[in-house]
């Protein structure tokens, strides 16, 4: 644990040392300026979406909206929130994301924790069968055929189980557990605690940062997941299980197909749907964008551990 904290503080120390002895302040300003431009590059598209979603459909069709809304209009949000299709998909995606994240993080802990015991008999073999799946995968179709024979196709289970453990995240979790001093485990064992008690009383309380990070990774993965829904939910009656990403994809695909017709006939119906699309994009991104900055310190550590040990 202490080593992790040290590496976290190291960059700042480095910088203080560099600032003191540095004379070329202009160079620093140039670098700060470049970073500012890079930030704009990342932010402007999102600001544009926000502005578009709050503009009048006519202004959007005339392409007058950049990052300031024109013809202030919250109609699109109201429409999204009152259209059953969108509300159901958003609600279902929230439920799905919560279920998947809880399941995944629990299984990841169950998988990673026993592997930290150096005296686990068969541990090397278990380790191998887990890591091997990172380097060799059966491929899309065999996975599809398996789900077909399990009868999971066109059911919501196909979105939950097939990818509920990520080996990469198990490695991150395990590495973090390795950082817990052995003396703590031994002390608890002397007090007569079994492995489960040690996990609950010693390891989990110390691992909240990494649990938060991996939960974020799993939640983002599920929230942004698209291809599994596209491949596994083919039947039209499964439309009620479409996550927001798949719904959005289909809405946009259909609207771009009709764009040309709309343009030829010269009416604004297309503009209305554009503001609604942009409002949907906002609903589909804002939850994540509100959460990730608060976990930044932790996921930086998580990614770093994963990179070093993976």
């Amino acid at each position: 644990m202490t080593t992790l904290n040290e590496t976290k503080n190291a960059p700042r120390k480095l910088h203080d040392g560099m600032i003191k002895s540095r004379k070329t302040r202009i160079g620093d300003l140039v670098i700060a300026g470049i970073c500012f431009l890079l930030m704009l590059l990342c932010l402007l598209p999102m600001l544009h979406v926000l502005a578009s979603s709050l503009s009048s459909p006519e202004a959007l069709v005339r392409n007058e909206v950049f990052i300031v809304p024109k013809g202030w209009n919250t109609e699109a949000y109201k429409t999204v929130l009152t259209t059953e299709k969108y509300v159901r998909s958003l609600g279902w995606t929230v439920v799905l994301t919560v279920i998947c994240t809880l399941l995944s993080i629990t299984l990841t802990i169950c998988c990673a924790y026993p592997l930290t015991y150096s005296n686990l008999r068969g541990g090397k073999f278990i380790n191998f069968i887990i890591l091997f799946t990172m380097y060799f995968s059966a491929g899309t179709i065999p996975h599809y055929l398996l789900l077909n024979s399990l009868g999971m196709l066109n059911t919501p289970y196909a979105l939950i189980f097939p990818n509920c453990i990520s080996v990469f995240n198990v490695i991150i979790m395990r590495s973090f557990f390795y950082g817990v001093p052995d003396s703590l485990r031994e002390a608890a064992e002397i007090d007569g605690a079994g492995p489960i008690r040690v996990l609950v009383k010693v390891y989990l309380p110390l691992s909240l940062p990494v649990i938060a990070t991996l939960s974020l990774f799993y939640a983002v993965g599920r929230w942004n997941g698209f291809s599994d829904a596209l491949m596994y939910l083919k039947k039209s009656e499964t439309e009620k299980y479409w996550p927001i990403q798949l719904l959005l994809y289909n809405v946009i695909k259909n609207s771009t197909q009709t764009t040309e017709q709309a343009a030829q006939e010269g009416f604004f119906a297309n503009g209305v749907s554009k503001t609604i699309q942009m409002a949907t994009v906002m609903f589909a991104t804002v939850p994540i964008l509100l959460v990730y900055p608060w976990l930044q310190r932790y996921f930086v550590t998580g990614v770093t551990i994963g990179a070093v040990k993976g």
Partner: protein
């Protein structure tokens, strides 16, 4: 310790492992048995081990794939796009990490990092829905602002550029994390000594910073080389449109369209197997190569 006492003390560990291991067996290893489908006749109604062998000693589908013009195009596109990603996309996070490392204002640096991580959290569906609006040929905002009509997503050549650019836009900031972590491992004393000697910013970057992250660069290079024939699905699929299919159709899309939509399961399983095997071979080769040059490699 005898098995009895061992299981009494540590048996619960195996209880914890039961479900995860069941997961890996059912969802990772059982599908591997379905690879057999690649050598069998196309029949999904009965499990592949009961189906008759395909023609040409079972290699019928591999031969068919390599005679299929669509597959060859998909193979070329996958290789070409991944190569562009490697050559153009890989140096970008390194440059950005160096830039962030040189940034002298700690608070500003933290804000910059937060903002640069943002695109990583957007899905390709979202990015494509924004892109198709911004980059449209005639009424896209970017063309309007430039006063041009460049077909960013409307012809194969430009589409490739847009594809690479968006890939960099999405992951560049996120990929700096690893390099920034490696940078913290460089001893500050090296910089101090260089400053005493009057080294310029560029000389410090060249002689201290870059050598300091050399092994990280090599490891990531190995991983990327290993995936040279691997193909993402979301990115080309969501960004694709009917005007650019000759550039955008990758192996993953080929497998999806011919396999899941076209029900040619044997053919597409064969293609997937080919892809996985090439991936493993490339990974092994690049790892050996890295070790030859005295680097640590990935295992």
């Amino acid at each position: 310790m005898s098995w009895g006492t061992y299981m009494k003390r540590y048996g619960t560990l195996y209880l914890l492992l039961i479900i995860p291991i069941a997961f890996f067996i059912l969802f990772r290893y059982v599908p591997m048995t379905y690879i057999l489908q690649a050598f069998k006749k196309n029949n999904i109604l009965i499990p592949p081990w009961q189906v008759e062998w395909a023609k040409n000693n079972g290699f019928q589908w591999f031969i068919k794939a390599f005679k299929d013009k669509d597959f060859i195009i998909a193979l070329k596109n996958t290789l070409f796009l991944n190569l562009l990603d490697l050559v153009i996309g890989m140096p970008m996070p390194i440059i950005m990490a160096l830039l962030l490392n040189e940034l002298a204002f700690p608070k500003y640096k933290r804000v910059t990092q937060t903002v640069l991580y943002l695109p990583h959290f957007l899905s390709w569906v979202i990015i494509s829905s924004i892109t198709l609006r911004l980059f449209a040929t005639n009424d896209g905002l970017i063309n309007k602002m430039l006063g041009t009509s460049i077909p960013f997503v409307g012809d194969p050549e430009h589409w490739r550029g847009t594809y690479i650019f968006l890939g960099i836009w999405k992951e560049c900031g996120w990929n700096t994390i690893i390099y920034l972590a490696a940078l913290t491992g460089i001893s500050p004393e090296l910089y101090e000594a260089a400053e005493v000697d009057g080294a310029s910013r560029w000389r410090k970057i060249w002689h201290i910073t870059l050598p300091g992250i050399r092994s990280t660069i090599i490891v990531l290079l190995i991983m990327n080389l290993g995936h040279i024939l691997g193909s993402e699905f979301d990115r080309p699929y969501t960004l694709s449109n009917p005007l650019v299919t000759e550039a955008s159709k990758t192996i993953s899309i080929y497998v999806y369209e011919k396999g899941i939509n076209g029900q040619q399961y044997s053919l597409t399983t064969a293609v997937g197997l080919f892809q996985s095997v090439i991936c493993v071979i490339f990974l092994l080769m690049s790892n050996t190569l890295a070790k030859k040059f005295g680097e640590r490699g990935i295992w």
